[in-house]
Symmetry: C2
């Protein structure tokens, strides 16, 4: 059997069983946005790794190296944010073809450092190796979170509301615009969407506020799309969910691109991924104060998009017509999804 | 300019300048075997990453996945050992072609877990991505070291002796044997050398003993070969060195392979790399007690192979003939070295 026949998440589940071990200092292991380790300080240490692979995550001549460097840091910082933490230290593994221009690598690092400085991250080392094929970039990121603030994917309870930060569908719309010069999208609008597609904004301040409030019950970030990622949260929390398409924070520009591309706007918001917003849950009576705190202190809006159900009630998407359909993941899948 | 024109170490130096930042919690940053972070606990946190790239570090059908998994953990554990630390937590980034056999990946993980358990390391997460080309494996490893035991590449002083653990040249001899079926090497001897080439033994216990003794002044591990790696130690310590070819711990089996291959045995010991032994320095009056402590407690021999000189005295190799030649690195170089 090939790994393409198994698929990304079942593969991870199989590998997780092989390395399953209970070590007392592992507070959160495989299966969340980052590992959380108790190394004896007053904070838990968060630890995550993510890669950018030429031909899978990016196309060489479609993203400037400066933006790719920023993106490499940003997608990892998002995983730390999703635990309520602050990223602090990064290591970079570069696997590069020997004929790559030195200037390209230096631009990559300039972007990486720019984004690192934005979040107070120190790049403390790494590794360089020769690639006989394309470029593979890996970034390992360490962060910290006060013990009491750690927020995982587990903890959502039936009756909780489901909230998301920011806007959904911009990365998907940007991907569509970048591939379809024929679409009559205003230049400035298109450029803004493409920028969101190329470099996400990790919601570090937002995640820390949400976690520090003590009001939220679970959180994760949106890398694969809400339709898929809220499922991971449901898996770990052992709950069901109902998401309302009409409540999804889809900006007008995204709706216009969706219309031009002949797709429902909620499709871009739910199933295309890469928005790197945060989705979290909290009791209904905490939703307003928590939303206001985040939006006042960071400028990032927060939207209620659904509610947590008991596990047996299942996972549902309420369409604008009122019809309820099963919420099944359709986000990008490594090994079975389409190439970018 | 291409990165192949710059070379591995000048490239790293250029990139290090771009991300140079002084953060008070970074005790050791770029330029040593691992980063050392002060995250507030009673131990410093060590943090390192290393990759195994198909076609650069390994050839697919020449290493069983089980051994490759062990190797992936081992080479990283060696970096933690070289700081005097203990590896504790690992993240794995897998970049895999979709047609790879599931059984291959599961065997890789079984080997990884076997080696992880040997050193008390918990695999706490990772990432899976699709490769449009070959296999790229990255492992990020966290470890710990008591503050007072941290041992870096800096600290060697003129007059110190240079010592190495274990034996040198076995990995190089194993590589030669695995590529030359015509060499008349006894089967058992050849197999043992090939095994050393495929999976090194990280000297974790030895490194901790050396560091905890308080007697050693600097340490690094031998990934590129003593001729290159002792140079890194000299760079950071701002010293010179004299290495005696006759004192290098070259096992008889290595000497025989070297003779059959028409190379001087000290060449295999100095310039081929991948032995993953430790090289360290200490004052002359501490060498005997330190060597005995390590060999008694771990069974690993320790050999004095040279002495530290003032920087202006340079870096020298004393040949068995008594002739002194400049000690210049000739270990494997990414971007300019030969493929395996």
């Amino acid at each position: 059997m090939r790994i393409a026949d198994v698929g990304e998440f079942p593969l991870i589940a199989r590998l997780a069983r092989i390395v399953a071990s209970a070590q007392p200092d592992v507070v959160v292991g495989i299966g969340d946005d980052a590992a959380a380790l108790d190394l004896g300080g007053d904070r838990l240490v968060l630890f995550t790794v993510d890669s950018q692979v030429e031909g899978s995550h990016f196309v060489f001549d479609r993203i400037p190296p400066h933006l790719l460097g920023r993106r490499l840091l940003a997608v990892n910082a998002s995983d730390i944010a999703a635990m309520g933490g602050r990223p602090t230290h990064a290591l970079v593994s570069l696997v590069l073809p020997p004929d790559l221009a030195l200037a390209w690598v230096e631009e990559l690092y300039a972007g990486l450092e720019e984004e690192a400085e934005r979040f107070g991250v120190a790049v403390v080392g790494g590794n360089v190796a020769r690639s006989p094929g394309g470029i593979v970039l890996d970034l390992a990121l360490v962060g910290g979170v006060p013990r009491a603030h750690l927020l995982t994917r587990a903890g959502a309870r039936p009756g909780d509301l489901v909230l998301v930060t920011g806007a959904l569908g911009e990365a998907a719309a940007g991907l569509i615009v970048s591939g379809r010069a024929d679409l009559p999208v205003p230049a400035a609008e298109g450029e803004a969407l493409v920028a969101r597609h190329l470099v996400p904004t990790p919601r570090v301040r937002e995640g820390r506020l949400i976690a520090a409030s003590g009001l939220a019950t679970a959180m994760t970030d949106l890398s694969d799309g809400l339709g898929s990622d809220v499922g991971h949260l449901c898996d770990r929390s052992r709950v069901g969910v109902r998401i309302h398409a009409e409540k999804l924070p889809v900006p007008p520009a995204v709706a216009r691109v969706a219309e031009l591309a002949g797709e429902p706007p909620w499709d871009l918001a739910l199933f295309h991924g890469e928005d790197f917003e945060l989705v979290f849950t909290c009791p209904p009576d905490a939703a307003r104060v928590l939303s206001e705190r985040v939006s006042v202190e960071t400028g990032t809006p927060v939207s209620v998009v659904g509610e947590v159900l008991p596990a047996p009630a299942g996972r549902w998407l309420v369409l604008p017509t009122g019809e309820e359909i099963p919420l099944a993941p359709r986000g990008f899948r490594h090994f079975s999804g389409p190439a970018p």
